[in-house]
């Protein structure tokens, strides 16, 4: 079951990111669906699952990205691992509680991507990129992660109440 879910995420997320998501880019910045999925997998499934999904999604993202190398593979793998670690240290993983860790993880991922994509650039440009891409994207990612986490919680609540009422 997990493998099928994992493969379907690999198959769907990057195509959506490169095609349909272009229409959902306020101020020209799109949320990173792969990062959101990796964080959620880390928060809900733990370090190993988070890292596994992050490496897979990062690898595919690298194939359809302008940059050469394995930056996304590395950062997404790391994010999956760290989000799994964060979920263990939080006393309760609520939507509100995961906002700041996701914001931090997305920013960390963004900083690495920024320095790898603009290796020979000045601070003025880096500041501009930080303000126009990194910060909005991190906010989008964090909000989306919180939103999906909240929806998953609601869905779980509904399914568990349906099960306990004897309908299934």
């Amino acid at each position: 079951m997990y493998i099928a879910f994992y493969l379907s995420l690999l198959l769907i997320l990057v195509p959506i990111q490169v095609t349909v998501l272009n229409h959902v880019s306020p101020w020209g910045v799109r949320p990173d669906l792969c990062l959101v999925a990796t964080c959620l997998m880390g928060f809900l499934g733990g370090k190993n699952k988070g890292m596994g999904l992050g490496v897979g999604l990062g690898f595919i993202q690298d194939l359809f990205s302008g940059g050469a190398g394995i930056v996304n593979l590395l950062t997404k793998g790391m994010i999956g691992f760290l989000s799994g670690l964060v979920s263990r240290t939080l006393s309760s993983t609520t939507p509100q509680a995961i906002f700041l860790p996701t914001l931090f993880l997305s920013s960390l991922c963004g900083v690495i991507a920024l320095f790898s994509s603009r290796p020979h650039t000045d601070w003025l440009v880096l500041t501009h990129e930080f303000r126009t891409i990194l910060l909005p994207q991190s906010l989008f990612d964090a909000l989306l992660t919180v939103g999906v986490y909240w929806l998953l919680g609601k869905w779980r609540l509904v399914t568990s109440s349906v099960e306990s009422s004897g309908f299934r």
Binding site: G28, F59, L63, A68, E129
Partner: protein
Amino acid sequence: MSKVNLTVIFGSGVTRVLLAVLSITVVVILLLPRQTQGIFEGVSHPVAQFMAIPIQTLASFDYGIRDAWNRYLALQGVYEQNLELQNEVQQLQSRVSQLREQIIVSDQLGHMLDFQAVAPMETVAARVIGRNATNWYRAIIIDKGSQHGIKTEMGVVTETGVVGRVINVNPSTAIVLLLTDPNVAMAGMIQRSRDEGIVQGTAQGFVRMKYLPPLSKVEIGDLVVTSGLNEDYPRGLLIGHVHRLEKGDADLFQLAEIHPIVDFSKLEGVLVITSSGQLPGSDLLPAPEQSSKVQP
């Protein structure tokens, strides 16, 4: 001070093995990039080819929805007429630029030339099926790859002007870095004054021309074309027009901000230049006096 429990961080068993394998792989890739490139491509190319299927399917779906919206919901007649006129204007603009270039070269040589030979190039038409997978590069994904003869560093154009350069090739798709990306640079020339410089994208998303001679008589509105010094672009392809000039008293060179002729947000189809020709010796000829400017 409390001790950090490493088992909490790195776990045990599976986690440690996974981390070790990943770390070793990364270190090997970073230390031996050339040696591992073949293995990496061996793995990545089939995956990329497979992943191209859902991307192309979604892109077709996306185009279909957009087409339906544009054609049937948003004032069908007006939209089509507008599109037709826009196309015509773009084609005429491009044609005018080409003709200006041809006139300049013709005057320089002093006799009639076969102007088709000025920029003889073979191209492969491709459809834009997506944008870059992250926000960090301004790039597009096209539906042609190494199977269709596309290679890295090939120039990409439309009938209007220069689009960018191929940066990454998979069997059935390729990634094209747009002219507005800071990682793209090419040799350009002010068409009227014949001053050459380097055209490069910026982080802010516009294009600038660097290293223009300090005594250059470049003006706002001047057209910028490819100079032909890059092997991937023939001479005379339209890049854009100058819309701002910058030169401090202590600066060695002038800097021109260029408004690209291609609207990158509406790119749907492109031409990849698979082989481009140059007019022998045309770079050595004296400067002409033809005016090639657009009203800013």
